[in-house]
């Protein structure tokens, strides 16, 4: 019953959302260049279904690869910062400052450094935009480990590594997955920033841009909805992994 509810309730809320959206457009009598309605979207999808498949896949794999790499970067930095106070206070200002820079301004810089390497450029932007929440949550999780947790193992002569993988790492997993959910949605922003700002004929960002040029507003909305759907899909994959690895922390 709970499993069915987990599927039915989100689906139901999505349908309500689409109905309200349709109603809003219909009631205000907006033309589709002002705001496309859900009923305009399907024709747009169908018309460009091959492009959606090709570009959607490009956006998707680059986002996933970027996300995986940002997990690696975020974890490594977070672990270093969690265990060494010197590294923590040394790196924080740089990381915070870096995160405060609008990533849209970094796109041309990256594109200039690695001219023509579109996949790599996109993945780098994804990493830059998504590693921060993971890094912060891991470093906080590790540095706030209660002393008693360490003591039960230290008093038996355990080494730092044993404490890390038997206690500190699993204990930080719920925070890690919380951050990963944030990073997942950020990752799509990263991919599309690159695809929209530096047009090079790849990904859904490019499709959005062509919609803009040809004033095909339903197409633009359809791209946005596709991105939202992919974001939701990836989010639920993270939820699935969370249930496997940190299910103990979820209250039933």
């Amino acid at each position: 019953m709970i499993r069915i509810n987990n599927f039915i309730i989100p689906l139901f809320s999505l349908i309500i959302f689409c109905l309200l959206w349709e109603l809003l457009v219909w009631y205000n009598n907006w033309p589709n260049y002002k705001m496309a309605s859900p009923s305009d979207l399907w024709p747009a999808f169908w018309k460009f279904k091959h492009l959606f498949l090709i570009y959607g896949w490009e956006t998707f794999w680059r986002t996933v690869v970027g996300l995986i790499l940002s997990v690696l970067v975020g974890l490594s930095l977070g672990i270093l910062m969690g265990f060494s106070k010197t590294i923590r206070i040394g790196l924080y200002p740089i990381l915070v400052g870096f995160n405060a820079i609008p990533k849209a301004t970094v796109v041309p810089v990256i594109a200039l450094i690695f001219v023509g390497m579109h996949n790599m450029n996109t993945i780098i932007i994804v990493i830059l935009i998504s590693f921060f929440p993971i890094c912060v949550s891991i470093s906080i999780g590790l540095s706030t480990l209660e002393r008693e947790y360490e003591d039960i193992l230290l008093s038996l002569g355990a080494n730092k590594f044993e404490i890390f993988y038997k206690i500190a790492l699993p204990k930080t997993l719920p925070e890690f997955f919380g951050a990963l959910k944030v990073s997942t949605t950020l990752a799509f922003i990263g991919t599309n920033l690159m695809e929209i700002i530096e047009p090079h004929g790849k990904g859904l960002g490019h499709l959005f841009d062509s919609g803009k040029i040809s004033a095909d507003y339903p197409l633009m909305f359809a791209v946005l909805i596709t991105l939202a759907v992919m974001g939701i899909f990836l989010y639920y994959i993270v939820v699935y992994l969370e249930n496997i690895f940190a299910g103990w922390a979820i209250r039933k």
């Binding site: 003591d151 193992l153 008093s155 038996l156 997993l173 103990w248």
Partner: protein
């Protein structure tokens, strides 16, 4: 395993400078003894547990366990704290075998599990083997924590106020669990507590520490009965003992005034 704390002084570095917590403290605990250490809040009782377990080194003096000077953690020590610090992602049995994963790496899982089950039966939780800590009550968690501290058959058990956060009746239950464990298992025990009744009921020696920096103020034997019962706590003999200890605590509290 007898424990000798010899002329130990210890101080911590704080923002306000050095903070002496122990001064010339000497305590001797006989083999298989059960010693309770009481004293005013913040007098350095927990420091003693960290010193005896080898987690920190004393600034001066030395600590011996069976004539061997402690300089680093020993795998023959078990510890339990006020906070049961169970690993929320492991079930009860896997929590209990944690120390074995460090000190007996060659043991098979089934051997570890059977060691843990023996203890679980002693504390009356055998049917909770596969439960997660979040499904247990406070008293049950503390029972599991006690099992974990004993699973590697330590020769010294250090208890740092393990019953302090429990309600009065659960506490008394746990005292009896402790009696049972002590009878079944062969260990020397140090108990840090604020509860004088607990000290008298569980231990055969009660030590009162003076206010900070702490040194030995009062040392009394409390084996008023071969097999202690809760009702013994209301006898006139024990009441008198408790009154004496209370008086000693008061003296210790006013030391710094």
């Amino acid at each position: 395993m007898h424990i000798n704390i010899e002329k130990v002084s210890h101080q911590y570095e704080t923002k306000q400078g050095m903070l002496p917590v122990l001064k010339d403290l000497s305590i001797s605990i006989k083999r298989k003894g059960f010693t309770a250490i009481v004293g005013p809040s913040g007098c350095g009782k927990s420091t003693i547990t960290r010193l005896v377990s080898g987690l920190i080194k004393p600034t001066q003096g030395s600590i011996f366990i069976s004539n061997e000077r402690i300089t680093s953690p020993l795998s023959t020590v078990g510890m339990a704290f006020q906070n049961p610090v169970l690993l929320e992602w492991r079930n009860v049995i896997k929590n209990i075998i944690l120390p074995l994963e460090i000190v007996s790496k060659n043991m098979t899982f089934n051997q570890k599990r059977s060691n843990a089950l023996d203890l679980l039966k002693l504390v009356g939780l055998e049917e909770f083997e596969n439960n997660l800590p979040s499904e247990l009550s406070g008293g049950m968690k503390q029972r599991v924590s006690l099992c974990r501290s004993l699973v590697h058959s330590p020769e010294v058990l250090i208890l740092d106020e393990p019953f302090a956060a429990l309600d009065a009746f659960t506490k008394e239950d746990l005292w009896d669990v402790m009696h049972k464990l002590k009878k079944e298992r062969d260990f020397t025990c140090i108990l840090i507590t604020h509860d004088l009744r607990e000290a008298v009921y569980l231990a055969d020696q009660v030590i009162v520490l003076s206010g900070r920096p702490a040194s030995l103020q009062y040392d009394v034997k409390t084996n008023f009965n071969e097999e202690k019962k809760i009702s013994d706590l209301y006898s006139s003999e024990v009441s008198q003992l408790l009154a004496t200890l209370r008086k000693q605590i008061e003296i210790a509290q006013h030391k710094n005034d």
